[in-house]
Point group: D2
Chain length 418, copies 4
Amino acid sequence: MINIMVRLEQHFIFCKFILVAIKMPPTLVSVDLKKSAENQPIPMHNRWHPSIPPVARVRVGEPFRMECMDWTGGQIKNNDSTDDIENVDLAKVHVLSGPIYVEGAEPNDLLVVDFLDIGTFPQMEWGYTGIFPTTNGGGFLTDLYPKAAKAIWDFEGRHATSRHIPGVRLSALMHPGIIGCAPSMELLNEWNKRESKLVAKESITVPPRALLPEKIRALVGTLKGSEAVSVAREAARTIPPREHGGNCDIKNLTIGSRVYLPVYVPGANLSVGDLHFCQGDGEISFCGAIEMAGYIDLKLSLIKNGVIKYKQTNAMFAPSASRLTYGPHLVFEGISVDETGRQYYLDANVAYRQATLNAIEYLKTQGYTGEQAYLLLSAAPVEGHLNSLVDVPNSCCTLSLPLEIFDRDISPKVDVTE
Amino acid sequence: MINIMVRLEQHFIFCKFILVAIKMPPTLVSVDLKKSAENQPIPMHNRWHPSIPPVARVRVGEPFRMECMDWTGGQIKNNDSTDDIENVDLAKVHVLSGPIYVEGAEPNDLLVVDFLDIGTFPQMEWGYTGIFPTTNGGGFLTDLYPKAAKAIWDFEGRHATSRHIPGVRLSALMHPGIIGCAPSMELLNEWNKRESKLVAKESITVPPRALLPEKIRALVGTLKGSEAVSVAREAARTIPPREHGGNCDIKNLTIGSRVYLPVYVPGANLSVGDLHFCQGDGEISFCGAIEMAGYIDLKLSLIKNGVIKYKQTNAMFAPSASRLTYGPHLVFEGISVDETGRQYYLDANVAYRQATLNAIEYLKTQGYTGEQAYLLLSAAPVEGHLNSLVDVPNSCCTLSLPLEIFDRDISPKVDVTE
Amino acid sequence: MINIMVRLEQHFIFCKFILVAIKMPPTLVSVDLKKSAENQPIPMHNRWHPSIPPVARVRVGEPFRMECMDWTGGQIKNNDSTDDIENVDLAKVHVLSGPIYVEGAEPNDLLVVDFLDIGTFPQMEWGYTGIFPTTNGGGFLTDLYPKAAKAIWDFEGRHATSRHIPGVRLSALMHPGIIGCAPSMELLNEWNKRESKLVAKESITVPPRALLPEKIRALVGTLKGSEAVSVAREAARTIPPREHGGNCDIKNLTIGSRVYLPVYVPGANLSVGDLHFCQGDGEISFCGAIEMAGYIDLKLSLIKNGVIKYKQTNAMFAPSASRLTYGPHLVFEGISVDETGRQYYLDANVAYRQATLNAIEYLKTQGYTGEQAYLLLSAAPVEGHLNSLVDVPNSCCTLSLPLEIFDRDISPKVDVTE
Amino acid sequence: MINIMVRLEQHFIFCKFILVAIKMPPTLVSVDLKKSAENQPIPMHNRWHPSIPPVARVRVGEPFRMECMDWTGGQIKNNDSTDDIENVDLAKVHVLSGPIYVEGAEPNDLLVVDFLDIGTFPQMEWGYTGIFPTTNGGGFLTDLYPKAAKAIWDFEGRHATSRHIPGVRLSALMHPGIIGCAPSMELLNEWNKRESKLVAKESITVPPRALLPEKIRALVGTLKGSEAVSVAREAARTIPPREHGGNCDIKNLTIGSRVYLPVYVPGANLSVGDLHFCQGDGEISFCGAIEMAGYIDLKLSLIKNGVIKYKQTNAMFAPSASRLTYGPHLVFEGISVDETGRQYYLDANVAYRQATLNAIEYLKTQGYTGEQAYLLLSAAPVEGHLNSLVDVPNSCCTLSLPLEIFDRDISPKVDVTE
């Protein structure tokens, strides 16, 4: 703590002309929303690689702020056209802030990350949810909804409404879609190897089975020249969640949560980005959260050798005591039989897909189009549960829809009671 | 109401010497726990078929009680041997109570079922969770835990402890594993057809891909002789959840819930059984809930033509306002890469399996064996979420473990904070 | 139904010869609802005194059941007349079960009581809420509602509706209005002394300031003859909550709660009664909960010398993890100025009274009479908060009304939004 | 860290030339924390009077921001001395922002206020809780804690810790202590009349019974000269909550809440201030919340003639779906007998005071001083309930303490379980 004091004091000296003591949290990464991802004052990165250099250092116990662009780096605009969604350059995603070097962090430690706050920028009080076209990203229901669609959400403080999905108001459930430490070279090689195998197994698919390293559009932080090219060539894409956390898209990683992240390289090299205003379990339309730019305030601590001590090779977390507590819900069930009647074996994806389709059909009886319903189930805080996974041949999954988000009662009306 | 009144009146007449007016709810199905499933006073059934005759009639608005055997019909004993689990006769399951004929219910209606109460019998204040051996049922982790195991849970009112899993106390979250209306002949044929195809596609597997109609051990209610044989031959097994609900094993169908069930035959022919004292999402060890005998009190209403009106071909429900509200949780993440490093494509089953294995590894650092942890994650009210399903090639699923069920603090201990 | 009766009878007969393992909980006190409080097989008591003899002994760790009459001992009937309310004999209340001698419990221990279960009797699936007339008990708003009124609640499992308050359905929130250990003679003397002083200070009031020992109608358990008379003469009435707990009427003492009770006499002499199906904070109409007969299952443990160790002279408790989690609420504020405009000094009673009156006025705009609203606010699980107590001269208290108990939307309708 | 500072500096410099599109919400009142309450760019007010002129106008449906000083206008400093608390000038409080003229609002309308967001200023990431000395304000326990004390809380995003109360961490529960519309002249006269009567009834008391109009230190917005003096002479103090809402200090008025405020003058003249980071029910130490400066974002709508339509003369509200959901609690009971054994008649203030004292005694066994415990129970989100109010002569009130705010387990330890 003495260090911080000294530093703050110096700050007071240097900033006399500013007069205001901006105590905390210091902003380690700031972004300029008027500039592209490639031209940020502090270089961004959109790949995972142990050689992407840290842009700042922190000590455990010192709160700090990370500003983040939206995941596409500003490609999506606040308008009613879907051209930007249709033509989004996915090679550019996800634009991440960091890495941050954590003093004292060593491989096999668990980096403990407390989410102190998350917020939006006054310059950009809006976000978006998109359906990507099948030919450019797709989504959970891309065979049924192959065309691009977009909903803009206007933020009013910690609430959002959309002119594209009337009659709905969402409370904020802000969280980072992505947080994780840089992989070691060994882990990175493993990622590339296993994902390459998957792609190799199948002929070319749309959407693809996996996104392998792609040097085009790669941002690798402050690296330049041949070093940058070399890193870009082998760096992992940020699309999938992996054992380090990464793009886990867990809506419950809200303000007040504590995340435990495995460390793979000295200093941990923590990155964060892809902030969401809200999201449903599954993030089904792919660009499915309410995507936003904003900031996240973090504080770190460590469990030395925690990966070994607790035998955890994946990220884990403790949710916040501050929660959304919507009352009435309507819950849709789905089983491992698809809409054509084809039987699958305990396939939870098919089951949740059916629950989703049932919810969409219901919402269509309440005046929404299929696209609106699909976007809404992506963005609203629906709960997706794996209810039963062992009752051959069907799994049962459910989608739980909070009814308080609607400005009217959409629950089923009983008509024979005696 | 008249029927009940008449019945009550008669009751008053015949029971003058008893004097007490036992008002409600009338018990439509009672069970005798000292007798086997085959010898119950009111015949049970363990198959789905439209021709299984109703054992009672109700009107909408009239509360009634259904008593239920445990799902195996009493095959599992309160002792420390796993012989009963190992040798369980799965051809006998699930022992169901009903069907109940609902006056006025017609195909395409939604039968609205309110769960008024669920409880245990004073004669059987215990339940069980089992790991079935691979050769007889298996489970979600059967490749890792191929041998039989059993935990007996002792009930103390609405709480349960197990001498086989020390240090844990669970609050009741009673619910029926199975509830649903009888299929029409047409729907039954569809089930049999699609499930047969699945079995046919693969060589013989252990456990099997699906369980096709099996006349051995079939209980088809009051049917006898050739009619019984004929029905047993084509009746569907009760293992999987299907569009009618059935064995959905949803832990949130607790007291106070309202379920909407599609009706396929005149009178609906509602059946219920497989009561659980508690269960985790996934019911992962197959015999994974705290299985129990007990009663459930129901009240019915109808949405005429509701299947069409709300475009719902699957069961749906509204959860209760009475809930378990455990505070602190520890949440384990899993992705679509199995423990050997094999990469799958967006496979939620693999992802949840990994979350489960991570939780088991964690619990092993807290003094539990793998079997104990597996049983606990099956029976305790863990939440299994489908967090992200579109980030190729990995899905992210989580298992959320409530920490208040333990009699000590098992959360990770941070050791470097500044 | 007939069958059941016969079967139960047979069961009782056959049980003589059968070793049925009815494991738990043993019933330490059973009641016969067809008999008056004075004629129960196990004598009841309606006074607090250290000399009332225990009716049973338990060891810590052993679950047991206590059956309870309703608090009046059966004086109120399931009909539409208010005569019984008007003429209730309050000298007879509260009819309590016990005392129970706890082995090992000594003065200054804290007796730790876990509430394992609470339930109703099938013979009496109804309860009542009453407004007592000013001349016989009164209530929080007795000056405005001086006449007797009654609402009968019909139980359907763990839910209640009333033909006297249409459009409302309550989920069970069962709890004992009274639980506590017998006072020592020293403590009893203190009670009598301080309450006598209060009565002496004022001329005769209606309702009275306090209810002093009253030998008429006193039930003192198994005591007889002169000993009974002597004890009745000095035993404390059960109306008020006191430091031992007693008639605390805390709606949150539900199934799963743990209560810590100071022990004053060797063996603790624990008594319980006055079961409620549900209640609002304040229990404002005096007979304000949904009063019921039923059973409560308990398990005990001890903190030796806990009164000293934790410096607690009053009962304390830890609420259950199973809770009612109603979503939307409408909250009414009240301040320390009464409806005539008179200013009080930080008087929370006046403030809550005003919040109550505001809620009643609101409910009158929704079609309820004042009496119905008063009864409803007594019986429904409203929350009464002491929000601010230091802002001279007004306190602010609130009454929070859950809106999901109504079968229609009663929230205020906004009419100018832009 | 120095790097960051430099970067911030550069940012400030560059920003001078950039047209940043700060879309929303427009800030209707901004404050300058380096200036006193008397010298703010937009005049503040610390009295209620219909003639205090609006500082801005809004239309319903248009979100806007109000910045607020802390309630004392900056009198309390971030240091370890209690001098500022001891000498606070209470004639200066509460410093309020507004009034805001709402177009279309007329007397007897209900002004519907949605709380879109509440937050702190980066320049002042701290707050305070104080015990005022008996001679200057006092508090709920001023007879036991007559001396000044202070706890500074450091904010880390939406969490607070205090170097003066170690081992505790609070999640944000931000809310305005004060919100309300200006009284009509008629209502103001009523306030003054009734409060004067109260003061007149008693000889001079410390603390006083009520605070009558006080022209010294009065801030009456933009009014000047004789008009200002005249208004100051009759304007009501802001200390008490009143029917318009005002200083209601309700901790549940958090982000996402909707408040319904009676309108008394054309344009409503809405004021807000006294922001709290967190507070316990009762705000017992008077300066008992975590007092802070910050902003609140609001959106308005109207219910025309709502005061008549819903018969509401007091403010009412609907709480947010975003809530603190702490799990385990320890609940302390109190009755209407004070610590000297004196018996009161159904006095909820005495009962809650006893619950508070019991909680303090408990916390003293856990290593806290009485002052620390008193401050903590004021600032932490404890729940204060009016549990029973009709059981003569004792009321029962409870204080519910969330245990997750402590960094260790402080719950009672059972030592005899079998």
